[in-house]
Structures are given as C-alpha cells and as structure tokens.
C-alpha cells in the first residue's frame, strides 16, 4: 500500500502522462491476475492468503445479525425453552426409533443382496459449520462457513443441512470456506427422479426457491411432486441424498424439451448451521470417481463447456485424492457427531430426513 503516497509530492502538471502510464500498468496487472486465476489456477495460494486476510472483516460485517441472534436467544423465556426442550426430546426419541428400524433394514438389505455384512452408512464423518456470511443475489448464491483447511475441509466437499443438499465448497481458506449453493446459476447437480430412476441434471436458477431441469425431453416421465435425489455421478455428492421436489412441469408441443422447475428441500435462508460431510471412499453409494467426468472436460477450453457443469469439473479432481484415504482424522480434531451446542438445539432441530437418520446409526457402529 506504499503506492498511496507516490503521487503526493509531484506537481499536478506532470500527472497526465504519469496517470496514463500507471493506469496501463494496473490494467496489465489486472489482466495478468485474471488470466492466472481463471486459466492456470496459479493463484490458489494467493487466494488462500487473501481469504484468510478477509475473514476478520467478513466476521465484522456479519456481527450485527449474529449479535441480534445471540440477544434473541438469551432473551428467550424459561417456558419457551422448556417447550422447545420437550419438542426436541420427542424428536430425538422419534429418530432413535427410526434408527433402530434402519439398522434392521440395512442388515436385511445386505442379506438380500448376498453380502456378508451390512454396508456401513456412506457418511463417514460430519462437521457442523456456522454460516458466517451469505450472498443470495440472482447473480451469486454463496455462503461463507467458519470452517477451513484447519478443520480438514477440502475443495469440492458436499454441504448438507437436515433437509437436503445445500452445495459444495469452492474456495477453502485456513479458517473459512466458500460454498456455492445448488441454486447458483453456475452450479449443476446430477440428480435422479426417485419414482422412476430417470437421471438428469438440475441447474441453479439464481433464486433460493427454484432449480431448473433443462435437459428433459418433452415425453419424460416426470410430474409435479416427484422427489429428486442425488444420483452419485459427477464425483462430489453421494448417491441418494434428497435434493429437491418438482413443483412445475410445463410441456409444450412446439418445444422438444420439457420445462421443469423444482424447489430445493434445504432451507438456506433460514439455516444458521450446515453440515460438512466426509464420505467413505469405495462405498457403493459414495461419489463416483471423478476421473472419467473430469477427463473429458479437461481437454477442452473450460469456457466452452456447458456453463453449468464448469465449476464441478474444476472441483472434482481436487476432491478425489482427498477423499481416498479411508476416514482421515481431521487435523483440527473436531468430533464427528454434531456438537450439542445451544445453537444446534435452538436453530436446527433434527428431523426425519436421511442426513440426520444416517447420523444416528453411526454412533451404534462397532
């Protein structure tokens, strides 16, 4: 920042040419930085450092909402806390019953498939993360989480909440990670229609309440109310996690493709905590190895690819090597079970959705 003072002592008359020269210099610098960042990915380290430097400011910017939430939580009356406690207790009992059933079903499924023992849950470890900052414009749908490399977070990691898929990490700093939401217009998630098994791709529409399914032919078997689950292709998200529910199917005799809209199941705008998940490598439901998917994309110019898949192709090769060692303990040493903090209890009551359901039998594993 020493450059601030460079012009201070100079007479104004000589500034025209000097400003022009300096502008050329800065413009060139910007273009070089853009090139390095976009095409060559040489700036990972620089971004890492910059993200670390920006983190305190981001925390400061987001402190008023945090303070407000804290104030509201600490002002809660005893009665409302007791009521909430009772509700959570009932919820926990419900989940435990379900988990019991789940164990039995998993064993039965294993026997039916002729396996020697039941397949363990695909989620190996999970880590709750607080949402530090949130950008929900139509151009960018991103979250900033308070977990980073120090907690073992890697690029291209799946992020869930208790209802469904939220997104994946794009830039990971030392203590923070940026998450691209599945509703970001640049994001696409491979999905399967649960009722029919039809595979397609759900693209973000720049709106937290909607996803578009632009690649379905007009005669595809899909209807409003269908549940979309992740298909496990693409190398980031494991198979079978709920993503969205179809809200609108529009078929036009003139158009070859159906226009389908779906509503994401995760509620990013009301969440204050999300889950970062590590998956068991080699598990049948784990994200497929990204070698094939990224190999075909790597050859071409990333800008020429269908825009929706570009972020995934970049993120996938990063994710694969990180995920291969089975159950790497986090350097940060975070417990794998959701922390029983007050925030967890108050803001994210567990429900009967698969991420939470998968979480409970984990404790019962030998």
């Amino acid at each position: 920042m020493a450059a601030f003072g460079t012009g201070a002592g100079r007479p104004l008359g000589g500034r025209g040419g000097s400003a022009g020269f300096r502008f050329t210099l800065y413009a060139l610098l910007s273009v070089i930085v853009m090139y390095l960042d976009q095409r060559a990915h040489y700036l990972e380290r620089v971004r890492y450092v910059l993200q670390a430097a920006a983190y305190p400011l981001e925390l400061a910017v987001n402190s008023p909402p945090t303070a407000w939430r804290w104030l509201r939580e600490s002002m809660q009356t005893r009665e409302s806390l007791e009521a909430e406690n009772a509700r959570l207790r009932a919820n926990a009992r419900d989940l435990e019953l379900r988990a019991m059933r789940y164990d039995a079903l998993a064993r039965e499924n294993g026997e039916l498939r002729g396996l020697r023992e039941a397949v363990p849950p695909v989620a190996d470890r999970w880590l709750p993360a607080e949402i530090v900052d949130i950008q929900l414009s139509s151009l960018r749908q991103r979250l900033l989480l308070n977990r980073g490399v120090a907690n073992g977070v890697f690029r291209g990691q799946a992020v869930l909440d208790d209802k469904g898929l939220i997104g994946q990490t794009t830039h990971v700093g030392p203590w923070s990670a940026e998450v691209i939401l599945i509703t970001d217009p640049e994001h696409a998630v491979p999905v399967r229609v649960e009722r029919t098994g039809l595979r397609t791709i759900a693209v973000g529409a720049g709106d937290t309440a909607s996803l578009a399914l632009p690649y379905l032919p007009g005669n595809a078997d899909i209807k409003s109310g269908d549940l979309l689950v992740s298909s496990g292709l693409g190398g980031v998200f494991p198979e079978g996690y709920p993503v969205a529910r179809v809200t609108e199917v529009h078929r036009d005799a003139v158009q070859p493709l159906a226009q389908v809209r779906a509503e994401p199941l995760a509620h990013v705008d009301t969440d204050s905590e999300v889950m970062l998940v590590w998956f068991r490598a080699g598990h049948p439901a784990a994200p497929a190895p990204a070698a094939g998917a990224s190999g075909e994309l790597k050859g071409g110019n990333p800008a020429m690819q269908p825009q929706a898949t570009a972020p995934k192709s970049r993120a996938a090769p990063q994710a694969a090597p990180q995920a291969t060692p089975p159950a790497p303990p986090a350097p940060g040493g975070e417990p794998s079970r959701p922390l029983p903090t007050q925030a967890t209890a108050a803001s994210a009551p567990p429900t009967d959705s698969p991420p939470a359901a998968a979480a409970v039998p984990e404790q019962g594993q030998p």
Binding site: R22, A27, V33, M34
Partner: protein, 157 residues
C-alpha cells in the same frame, strides 16, 4: 493532502467496502448502490493525489476477494473508472451536483460494462437486466454521498 486526509480516505473506503459486502435481502441487494465505486470516485475527483489509481486498483482487488468470480475483475473496472476520474477531475469538480451525478451515472455504466464483458469472457455470463439497476441508484445517491464524504473537510484539495 496530509495524514488526516489519507486516514479519512482509507476509513471511508473500508466503510464503503463493508456497505458493499453487507448481507442484504435480495430485493434490497438489487438496488444497493456500488458504495465502493462512489467512494473511490469521490476521492479521485476531490483528492486525486491522495489515492489516485492505487486506491482504485487495491479497492477493486479487495472487492474481488469478497465477491469476484475472478481475481482482478473489479480491480480492472475500478482502475479504469478511477483513471478517467483522476484525469478529468478538474472538469468534474467544477460542475454542479446534478451534472456530477450524470457523470457518475456514466462512470457506473462504464464500470458495469467492463464487469459484464469480463463475466462473459470468463464464462460467468449473467444477463439479467437487474445488474444495471445499481447504476441508477448510485447516481441518485451521489449528491448526498459526496456531501457526507466532504463533511468536516475544511478545505478542498
């Protein structure tokens, strides 16, 4: 043109950056003026020697870290706008507030055009017309913003 003025410059740029990245509901986000661009424009016109191009470049780079799809995007756009403002600062400064607001409007359009082109080239095309809304609110807010920024400055540099 002294320590005091430079301190106010850096402080105002930081405040503008915070206002720019502050999370807002989507409808408010659309009309949010580009506070950082306005602040940098103000200093380029009224104290071209205090910050000059460097402040445009580094403020843009900071913004890139927070919300740029590509590092250097806002830095380039803001450097360009700053350069024009610094070069023409005497002409812009002598204009009445309404005309200044029109010039700022043009500068904001230029800024957004540069961002739009870079977005397109780098494969993040966002063609929603909503991205242009902030240029209007930015021009509207210029007279009060300039008044606030010049508050307490006994002298014009």
């Amino acid at each position: 043109m002294n320590v005091d003025s430079r301190g106010r410059l850096i402080l105002s740029v930081l405040v503008a950056l915070i206002l720019t990245v502050l999370p807002l509901p989507p409808w408010l986000d659309v009309v949010r003026p580009a506070f950082l661009v306005l602040t940098v424009l103000y200093w380029s016109v009224n104290a071209p020697r205090a910050g000059g191009l460097a402040i445009g470049f580094f403020a843009g780079l900071l913004l890139d870290v927070f919300q740029g799809p590509v590092l250097g995007e806002h830095a380039l756009a803001l450097s360009l706008v700053t350069y024009i403002a610094v070069r023409e600062h005497q002409r812009i400064r002598s204009k009445p507030a309404i005309q200044q607001a029109l010039i700022v409007f043009a500068a904001l359009i230029l800024y957004e055009v540069v961002l739009f082109m870079i977005d397109g080239w780098t494969g993040h095309p966002v063609t929603s017309p909503l991205r242009w809304v902030h240029t209007v609110t930015g021009a509207l807010i210029w007279p009060p913003a300039a008044a606030i920024l010049s508050y307490g400055a006994g002298h014009r540099v």
